[in-house]
């Protein structure tokens, strides 16, 4: 049995010590230019008209909620912020009422997504080799077989919940296999993901209590992998070295948490939103069924139009930026979905064009934090749609009002009742 001192006496419940909390403000938005909120139902129902309107009228909106936040909506501004790691920190990338303490930078709670230079580079590099296109190719057959297995269970049913019964399970299984977690733990992951991403207006104490559930789970997995090392991502993170040192235990736990959360909710949302679009747009669905060779451009276009992920940054110091006065520790909501619908960058930006050939969308972000899992996510989305279209080429929304969208920075359907046939 391996003895690893790093984890021997670790108090792995790390509170958000020194965090600065602000009082939650909820309720309907009075004016989107001065009081925006991405956690109100109107936004999660359909954020695009709001973003399109702001882009024209007030390209950098503001809110006093969350202790102060900005919302740039043009492609140019989103790209500039994503590339400016001197002006904007990734110390926290999910807006809440808690700003993590300054000294948590440049590592952050979930490296590399929460890390700033110069620390970020090494933490990212060690993941890149595991998630290349070549590495991902090896997972394709198993992913396809699993998609079929899920659809086998739906055979004969008239109405299914494509978000709960299909989309959700694909990324859960893929990432849990990669990390070497028991496949039957899937339902637990759904709870962790929900707590991390949708509990935005909770108090700091509630957030700490909920995140402890996830850390307890990961800590148990670490202990199991230390006792029984095997060929998976968890053992790799435990054994790998950066600059001649094994990783700090919090780095290992933080990266595991990141992969679990960043890998599941996002891809689940992308698969669900794509099926939702095809269900409500018979012309596109029929075209994709008749011309399966369009799948490559179609998946990129669905990622552009329904980009699931919005990130956040914290302003590093007071500055006048593109016409507004930003203060140190103001939040910035970094809306890749809004950048993707900027007519200055994309023709027919508000339409879904399945054969769009020129598509430099930024659903996977821009700059040094570009999604490490993008090759994996693209494979999962393509395979999930290919298998679905092959098995159920005809489907429609069974109950448009029964579609439930997630709240917060990762947007996708959490319930999607579809009628088959």
């Amino acid at each position: 049995m391996t003895v690893d001192d790093r984890f021997a006496d670790l108090d792995w419940h790390r509170d958000e010590y020194g965090a600065r909390g602000t009082a939650p403000v909820t309720g309907p938005v009075s004016d989107w230019t001065t009081d925006f909120s991405h956690v109100e139902p109107e936004w999660s129902q359909n954020p695009y008209p709001i973003l399109d309107d702001l882009r024209q009228r007030c390209p950098i909106a503001h809110t006093d909620r969350f202790g102060g936040a900005w919302l740039p909506t043009t492609f140019e501004d989103v790209a500039a912020i994503a590339h400016d790691t001197d002006g904007f920190s990734s110390r926290s990338i999910i807006i809440s009422n808690v700003r993590p303490p300054l000294d948590i930078a440049p590592v952050g709670v979930a490296p590399p997504i929460s890390s700033d230079p110069p620390f970020h580079h090494g933490a990212r590099k060690l993941l890149l080799t595991v998630f290349t296109r070549q590495a991902v190719k090896k997972l394709e057959d198993a992913t396809r077989a699993y998609c079929h297995e899920l659809l086998d269970q739906m055979q004969g049913r008239e109405v299914v919940d494509a978000a709960q019964d299909y989309a959700q399970h694909i990324p859960m299984r893929v990432i849990s296999d990669m990390l070497g977690f028991p496949p039957e733990d899937g339902p637990k992951f759904a709870v962790f993901v929900h707590n991390a991403l949708e509990g935005i207006n909770l108090t700091p104490e509630e957030r700490v209590a909920k995140s402890a559930l996830l850390t307890d789970y990961l800590y148990a997995q670490v202990q199991d992998h230390l006792a029984n090392p095997r060929d998976d991502l968890t053992t790799y993170l435990l054994e790998t070295e950066v600059d001649g040192h094994k990783l700090d235990p919090f780095h290992v736990l933080g990266t595991m948490a990141l992969l679990l959360i960043a890998g599941i909710d996002t891809t689940w949302s992308a698969i669900g939103a794509s099926l939702w679009h095809l269900a409500k747009t018979p012309a596109d669905r029929e075209r994709l069924a008749a011309e399966p060779q369009l799948m490559a451009t179609a998946t990129e276009e669905l990622l552009r139009a329904y980009a699931p992920v919005t990130m956040a940054r914290l302003v590093k110091k007071d500055m006048h930026w593109h016409g507004v006065d930003m203060k140190a520790d103001d939040w910035v909501l970094l809306s890749f979905p809004s950048a993707n619908r900027d007519p200055e960058r994309f023709e027919r930006a508000d339409e879904v064009v399945l054969d769009r050939e020129e598509n430099s969308h930024v659903a996977f972000g821009l700059g040094i934090h570009r999604c490490v899992g993008s090759h994996l996510a693209r494979m999962e989305l393509r395979v999930a749609l290919e298998v679905w279209m092959e098995r159920f080429p005809t489907f429609s929304l069974a109950d448009p009002d029964g579609v439930v969208w997630s709240l917060g920075q990762v947007r996708g359907p959490r319930h999607l009742p579809l009628r088959l046939g």
């Binding site: 590099k125 890149l128 080799t129 998630f131 290349t132 296109r133 070549q134 990129e300 050939e357 020129e358 598509n359 430099s360 969308h361 930024v362 996977f364 821009l366 700059g367 040094i368 570009r370 993008s374 090759h375």
Partner: protein, 73 residues
């Protein structure tokens, strides 16, 4: 036609080596590499152009033949 890759901008989105494998490859971290000296055969000009237009980081420049001739003559 010739492609120029700005590796300072490339973040490894991989659109180029997906769309134009004739012209681009990847290193072991997923960042793009240009095959050979970047000269694009006529058959591959279409995909090379597509790759440049799909790069989210604007990391790929295309140099047309007439510009190349202008530079060397």
């Amino acid at each position: 036609m010739k492609v120029l890759l700005d590796s300072g901008r490339c973040q490894g989105h991989g659109r180029c080596y997906d769309l134009a494998p004739e012209v681009f490859g990847e290193d072991d971290e997923g960042y793009a590499r240009v095959h050979g000296d970047g000269v694009v055969l006529p058959d591959a000009e279409r995909v090379a152009t597509l790759a440049a237009k799909n790069c989210p980081e604007n990391a790929i420049d295309l140099i047309q033949d007439n510009a190349l001739q202008g530079a060397t003559s």
